[in-house]
């Protein structure tokens, strides 16, 4: 897998060198582009604060445990434990939260447990939908998000279900 380490350095090399070859004022253009970094970051702050705070409050209220508790009787007979339900629910909401859940599972069950493999596959295959939404739409000041959340969550759900199935099939 070591060749993946080369992707970035190669990009870092090719862009400026090709630019020089095409007689682009490399330094000036780089600075020109980089300028935007600050304004964009500042622009997304209000969106990020709103969405992340709402999610943090939701988690702290204990609603998550309640929902997991309600879903458990439905999923448990299918062999999906509450750990997996928690992971599936928390993944679209917070990145750090889901890292925490995964780290806990690894510590409790060890890396080779089926549950851990499922949770890790879920972690690797879905995104923190709400964070991406806040950052991307926030950067351009979009307030009405259309059908983006619906489609994103639907994709997350599919990813989670697919992760459970393939892990059962490969490792179960």
């Amino acid at each position: 897998m070591n060749w993946t380490l080369l992707i970035l350095p190669i990009i870092f090399f090719i862009f400026p060198v090709y630019g020089l070859y095409k007689k682009v004022a490399v330094y000036e253009e780089f600075v020109e582009g980089a300028k935007e970094g600050f304004t964009i970051a500042v622009r997304i702050i209000p969106y990020l604060v709103t969405i992340l705070c709402a999610i943090a409050m939701f988690r702290a209220s204990g609603a998550m445990d309640l929902i997991t508790g309600l879903l458990n009787p439905i999923f448990a007979p299918l062999g999906i434990t509450s750990d997996i339900t928690t992971m599936a629910l928390i993944r679209p909401l917070t990145g750090s939260g889901s890292i925490g859940v995964l780290a806990d599972l690894i510590q409790t069950y060890g890396e080779d447990a089926l549950i851990v493999k499922m949770a890790a596959t879920m972690f690797g295959s879905t995104e923190t939908t709400f964070y991406v939404l806040a950052v991307y739409f926030g950067a351009v000041n979009i307030r009405k998000t259309g059908w983006a959340i619906k489609a994103g969550l639907l994709a997350d759900l599919t990813g989670a279900i697919a992760a459970i199935f393939i892990c059962y099939w490969l490792f179960g």
Partner: protein, 298 residues
């Protein structure tokens, strides 16, 4: 969501009070193992709870204006209920160890009792703290993005000016045209989108974000209503959150180490499924929203 959290928190706090989960008014019988004599300043004591002689607990007695305070050293030996209370209200003493401050009913006899501090509105406090902490975290997250963002945007500017990105764009154009029919094929948005998708597929998380933002800015230029997301924007977001990943994200490798290799195939499979669903759903939703728009005009 905030309202929901508020009601959940309220529900649980009221439920705690009705079921008296924290046993707020109850006192616990304890036996001091030494008698407390003339109390100057404070005195260290050992004591047991009820008749449980197995665990000897440590604490220190202090005279307060309202009576006597027993600061209990919080550790594994104290009763489970006390630990639960401690996790909500315990503070630290000067030496930095965690102490639970309880009220001691008397020190005349060695058989006495303590009442723990009252625990109320646990979840309410929790959501308040969570909101305030996260507000801070959100800003540092955004600030933390500045550097990487500036770097990638700078690099991309060179890529645009030199025509490098345009060239790459031509390769993926047929696919992109189908995914984003509303965007002109030679528009800069297309190249930013394809770069973002490439970065996502290769698991280059922090390169993907600046390119994604760039793509959004370009898509925004095509947007007639600057406050509302277009179908192309929604489609881009859906593809982005479900993106196929050929290489697992760095965080996962950090957590799982070598066993990540085993997960490659499951991850590719799961992301493939979610991408297919995202694209199909996206196509369906955008057809629906177009219909609505047309009807709205008529």
């Amino acid at each position: 969501m905030i309202a929901l959290s508020f009601f959940f928190a309220l529900y649980q706090d009221l439920n705690d009070q009705i079921t008296d989960r924290w046993q707020n008014d109850q006192s616990f019988d304890i036996q001091l193992l030494q008698s407390v004599g003339q109390l100057e300043d404070h005195q260290k004591v050992q004591f047991i709870v009820g008749s449980n002689t197995a665990d000897t607990l440590l604490g220190s007695v202090t005279k307060k204006s309202s009576g006597y305070e027993l600061a209990i050293a919080v550790n594994q030996a104290i009763p489970t209920h006390w630990q639960a209370v401690a996790s909500e209200v315990a503070g630290k003493n000067a030496a930095g160890s965690v102490m639970l401050r309880a009220t001691l009913s008397s020190i005349e006899s060695r058989s006495t009792s303590v009442s723990l501090p009252i625990v109320k509105w646990v979840k309410m406090k929790a959501i308040t703290n969570a909101a305030i902490d996260m507000a801070e975290t959100a800003v540092s997250l955004a600030i933390g993005l500045i550097g990487v963002m500036a770097f990638w945007l700078g690099l991309m500017q060179i890529g645009y000016k030199s025509g490098l990105i345009e060239g790459m764009n031509k390769i993926v154009a047929p696919l992109m045209r189908r995914l984003f029919p509303d965007v002109p094929a030679d528009h800069p948005a297309m190249s930013a989108i394809s770069l973002n998708m490439a970065a996502n597929i290769l698991g280059l998380g922090n390169a993907a974000t600046p390119m994604g933002i760039k793509a959004m800015e370009e898509l925004q230029k095509l947007n007639p209503n600057k406050e509302e997301a277009t179908d192309a924007m929604c489609m881009f977001l859906a593809i982005n959150t479900s993106s196929v990943q050929l290489l697992p994200p760095a965080t996962l490798i950090a957590l799982m180490g070598a066993s990540t290799n085993e997960l490659l195939i499951p991850i590719i499979f799961a992301t493939l499924c979610s991408s297919i669903v995202a694209i199909t759903a996206g196509k369906w939703f955008s057809r629906k929203s177009k219909k609505l728009r047309v009807e709205g005009v008529n």
